[in-house]
Symmetry: D2
């Protein structure tokens, strides 16, 4: 049986994590995601879990490494500058093949920037802010309900691939209040195959697990990189998620994700009523990116692709890779904490529609 | 008059920085770039400068922020995990429009990885490991001499654009020994227009400079982002650098940078002697990326583009953006501290030449 | 009903703390007390408590401050250098009148020194390593059983006086194995009057408690100091504890505490059998120091006082203050991890006995 | 030739240090001593020295350890809570026998306390806030001129004994403005015998110096403690400094140091005019303490000793050790940032004089 509740975004995401079996949270406060750690600090003790506020984001992500290394469901959350501080640790988690969930409730940058919502961490999320050949699996919910559902999925995928999974949210989602439904989940706290690899177990191998990202022998490190790549290829094969919205007969195709896509949807709805043939491809996973629907667009039918972001243009690179050069690609973005309005998007579309 | 000397790569890069007017260095040790800080610790006091080993990379980059904020020529260097730790600070430097030079002598990753050379930080360098809409100007030398020359250029460009500039090197360049020539440079220690913006001055504005990346008003933050973008556009307009090697009549085009390009050059030389029509486009700046020479490739003439990297394939994204879909793009990479050999590259080319 | 068990010293002290209602432990590892945190890390979760290894001793003691401020029974343990790092925090705890228990399992110093037992932190314990006019209540057990009993007492006294209480042990006690009995205790986890002063309560005062050691107004700070002094005076009035051993007819009086007193006891027993009139005053509290029994020694009867310590002579100052100048005071000490032997003490006594 | 200038106390102390050959300063800001680091940050570069603000007091004192280990003249300064944070490092410096000067411009405590002057760190200064058997040589100037002179002496004594020397000042001295004279000094920057023991030298011993406080072998550590003790005995033999003021025929003897003694002097002057037979013993070194003048007081002549401190009574312990029980000892103290007034001290004396 599912529970339906009216909740604030950040709290709903936190509750979703707890229901997905997350028992350990390590973090450091930063606006606009503070309700996540706050909620976790109250909620985790109720389920026998542990909430720990670390002395910094660098410490947080290393505690996540420690917790994840034991095979438990572990999470951290932060906002843009805090995620940057976690870059080294995230690369270590990926290198050591540890599952965990990282929520980035993005705010405007660069630097301190502002505390209002943005989508300017797309590059960081999809190309790994950290060093080395690694990838995060990145889920970009567009509504709070989707955020809740993807949080459950995030924990499952993290374990399936033994890789960090990022929820790429933004301050709008974190601060809004909406009714959400928590579906029943059969998730357990422990990684199902933790005995195979997590520290503290003495499994079939008959020797203690060693969790590490260090491979001093270059042959070994190269093999390790190939093993990781195979995993990223499998993600690309199996985990691409996107939504096609009003794509039938669409001559103008919007590309947008997250809150921006939600706003774009209203613009599309309005314009379709007026007969403007506009649709949208909405990536739900931004890594792996849904290149296929963009590759499949026909230059005969589609006359323009409009990328809309709350940034100066980052996802546009992936759209270009997908589309190539036969269809014009244009961009509209707002930033600094400002979301594109329905009206602004409509205007952009109308301009293209001529 | 120029000085010609036989030097170890890391030391030559450090000496080049000193001759470019760098007086302040803040860093933390990590293999394989330790000769840079070591050299700086001896050399800077001789020119009235200051070398400071910070307590961590996070501290280092914040000290760079402090130093750069006074309008002086400041540098740090590190290798991959250390650069990740600097991600937040780098985003702050870009956000506050501060000039500085950051050397990344890349090693194999992810995580601790190994201590041998790699090119797996391309994404981090070109898409900003940090958060927010910002860009580094990234110079990728292919030989030690070019490293020395680009280091001088790096300081000049950093000031010209008031933006961090990264030298993207690798352990081969850092550890090799070669003769290098230090050309005369008219560089001064102080940013030429420091009085306009640096702390400690009281210029025309009649009030003390404030160096910051915080803009709580979203309108202001958006304007600030547009100002930054204009700068990145100007870089894209003015600073693209690349080398065309044996491109006349080339039917197979290699794309490679840094040490890998140096190796690829030998392979091309060998195969050209055999009559194989192969050439190379070698990006010298990887941001801004030289899209034009790739865009200009004719599908009638070029039958394949082979991207070669010491990574699992990162620059390949930029090549795809440049080339589009009309010419096949293939990839060959080694990683974990292993460079592709001349023979391996020749084999790849022969296979394509088929 | 009491439990009797054979236990290692450090573990017995930890178990005693748990039975005294300690639910929160914050610490950082250092030899020779590591069995305390190790035991706590296993044991506290069983009683619904929390064990946290901090990133340093500075962090530990500040976490103790936080925990103690909520009115819960909180403890830390360390050894000499670690206690020095806690000095600032201890002064803050005393200044803010927070109850807590601090175990110092002393090792040889100064600096890193060695890892073997010593009594060279007597000054630090009794005169406050930290700054400002404050005192710890310091309990110096001589046997493991006494250590267990004094640990229970420590938590009670900490709350009674709202002041940190130190258990001044040494590596011998920490590492030895002995049978100990845990008496039943009616201790609760919460400070009985926590509602009056601890954060998180909204008591009679009708406003939230503020826990602080900052008083910017000098009049207020002086008053605060007088309030604290009254407390220290009350301790001096009520809490002095010592043991008189074989003092009847004693012409030579030993002054020793802790493990040293235990060894001295054997020497006295042996010599009494030979008819040497030797006794001992053994301080159990070293602050407040039992001056009275020393003040009451009669110059007509006592011809020498022999202070024995595992240090270069620190308690000797308190003995001098108590005795004055009418009885000669001599000193015998070993240090660096070496305890005086029974034989050595006998020799010293014989020399005095002439 | 001497220079005479009107200067603020903290700045005069800093200038005295520079003239005594101090070239390296490491510290962290805290009121009321901030003018010392501020002055040093400007002044040291002028003499080819280095000023470094560390990230904390713990870091500062460890940088002092590093600098002192090279045989250079190094200093730090702080105020009460900051000195507590340095306790571990101070014990390391003493254990490794490293010369340095530490200025404590004492403020009211405990904990954060206030920012106004106090003398409540006497115990910490004289009994070593840190762990292990070690002592600081502690100089307690009463006027700014004496502060300047003792600062020169401090550097000389630090080297003579290879031991940290503390200047125990207070906020009054730090903040007052007075004319001071800088006498010529022949001090050099380097410890005269640094080649014998400092790192970086390869002296007679023919092997690199090792600076350490770790002695894992207990016999060795005990020997090391005896060596240190011999040094403290030599200090006690040679370095006791005190002033006898109006002691001829004195029936009431004040014991006071630092600023308090300066105020007491006025009270004594006033009362002597009225014929009250009052004098003062003013310790200039508080370790080693001038026990002799107190031991030599005759119970026939002196009817009361009045200890005056800006604390709740700490030096009183040393006075008791010196005097014994044949002369009554009374105490008058103010604290929290308040100094005893001339009038208050006169009143106390009158009360005793009866």
């Amino acid at each position: 049986m599912a529970d339906r509740m009216l909740m604030k975004g950040n709290e709903a995401l936190a509750e979703a994590a707890v229901r997905a079996g997350c028992k350990y949270f390590f973090g450091y406060p930063i606006t606009p995601q503070n309700e996540i750690p706050e909620y976790m600090s109250r909620r985790l003790p109720e389920v026998g879990g542990v909430y720990l506020q670390a002395e910094s984001e660098v410490a947080s992500i290393n505690m996540v490494f420690g917790g994840a290394g034991t095979g438990k469901r572990v999470m951290t959350s932060s906002s843009s500058p805090g995620i940057s501080l976690m870059s080294e640790g995230i690369s270590y988690l990926a290198g050591a093949e540890l599952p965990c969930v990282i929520m980035n409730i993005v705010r405007g940058g660069p630097g301190l920037g502002g505390i209002l919502p943005a989508q300017s961490d797309y590059f960081q999320a999809t190309r790994g802010g950290g060093h080395g050949d690694y990838r995060l699996l990145v889920l970009a919910p567009s509504t709070l309900q989707e955020g809740v559902d993807l949080t459950t999925l995030a924990f499952d995928l993290a374990e399936k691939y033994r890789n960090p999974v990022m929820i790429l949210g933004d301050g709008f989602m974190g601060q809004m209040m909406e009714a959400v439904e928590f579906k029943e989940s059969s998730s357990s706290t422990d990684s199902s195959d933790a005995e195979e690899w997590a520290v503290g177990y003495m499994g079939k191998r008959g020797k203690r697990a060693l969790v590490k990202s260090l491979y001093l022998d270059p042959e070994e490190l190269e093999q390790h990189n190939h093993k990781l790549q195979k995993k990223y290829d499998a993600m690309t094969q199996n985990e691409v998620r996107y939504e096609s919205y009003q794509m039938e007969g669409a001559e103008i195709v919007l590309a947008a994700y997250g809150t921006t896509a939600r706003i774009a949807r209203s613009a599309i709805m309005n314009l379709r009523k007026e007969g403007v043939p506009v649709g949208m491809i909405r990536p739900i996973t931004v890594f792996p990116f849904p290149y296929a629907p963009f590759e499949n667009l026909s230059p005969e039918k589609v006359k323009d692709i409009l990328v809309v972001e709350m940034s100066m243009g980052q996802m546009i690179d992936d759209v270009k890779i997908g589309v190539g050069k036969d269809i014009p690609i244009s961009f509209f973005g707002r930033c600094g904490g400002i979301a594109p309005s329905v009206k602004e998007i409509e205007d952009q579309i109308r301009k293209i529609a001529g």
